[in-house]
């Protein structure tokens, strides 16, 4: 296992931060050795977590910030997104795949995070919510990483 590398950012509650976080996720996932499809999934999950934090959590409040961090240790990438909003209960978010919800305009963000990551955790803060996204490197990616060192 390589030494963990961690970077963190304190970001404004703007749409620009969402786009910037998505770009950073793509870049960091690429450096970590994930394949193209997996990188796309990781950056989408990070984008959705940021939208959740900025739109639903901080509600674009210019005073509130979002903390974003990426940590990789050669075996997995751990991304955390923390907002300062009023929080929510993940279990109460309706299932977007239920027939009665299929034609709803919103409510797919958490589903997409779970679809593309190996683990998604929510922690209630006071105030705010911390979302942790984890993606493990597959054996073929670990082999590639080893071959390049």
């Amino acid at each position: 296992m390589t030494a963990p590398q961690r970077v963190s950012y304190r970001m404004e509650s703007t749409l620009e931060s969402v786009n910037k976080a998505e770009e950073m996720a793509e870049q960091i996932a690429s450096q970590a050795g994930y394949d193209e499809d997996t990188r796309g999934g990781i950056s989408m999950a990070v984008r959705e977590a940021m939208i959740n934090a900025i739109l639903h959590g901080n509600a674009y409040d210019p005073v509130k910030r979002v903390n974003l961090s990426f940590e990789q240790n050669g075996e997995e990438l751990v991304v955390t997104v923390t907002d300062q909003g009023k929080g929510f209960v993940p279990a109460e978010v309706p299932d977007p795949l239920a027939p009665e919800n299929l034609l709803k305009q919103s409510g797919r963000g958490i589903f997409l995070m779970r679809a593309f990551m190996d683990e998604v955790r929510f922690r209630k803060l006071n105030p705010g919510t911390e979302i942790t996204l984890i993606k493990r490197l597959q054996s073929k990616e670990l082999d590639r990483q080893e071959a390049s060192t």
């Binding site: 796309g40 305009q105 797919r108």
Partner: protein, 115 residues
């Protein structure tokens, strides 16, 4: 990259050629305004060409669903054309692939609208 939408008419069907990203913010707004404008003009047979749409997020998916229901509620039809693999996969996992009428050939898509 922002999104662009341009429209053309073929056999009574309005084809909307979209390019770029349908995401929270500008991309979703462009799509919403385009559909609103077409419905306002009474154009209710709409084919969204997504061949040059590189990326859609949850907000963009929501906007597609909203376009679909708005057109249907006004007695019209909305179909999707030329999905990229990424967009196709996204509609599959969100179970929307079967909700939308998806075509991969423009002539076939136009012929499939109720005349």
């Amino acid at each position: 990259m922002s999104m662009k939408a341009s429209t053309r008419q073929v056999d009574g069907v309005t084809i909307v050629d979209l390019s770029g990203r349908i995401t929270l913010g500008e991309g979703s707004v462009v799509l919403r305004d385009t559909i609103k404008d077409l419905l306002g003009k009474g154009q209710k047979k709409i084919l969204l060409n997504l061949g040059d749409v590189s990326y859609i997020d949850s907000s963009g998916i929501g906007e597609l669903v909203s376009a679909f229901t708005s057109v249907r509620n006004q007695g019209g039809e909305l179909k999707l054309l030329n999905l990229t693999k990424k967009v196709h996969d996204l509609l599959q996992i969100t179970k929307l692939y079967t909700v939308f009428d998806v075509k991969d050939d423009e002539a076939t898509a136009i012929a499939a609208f109720n005349k």
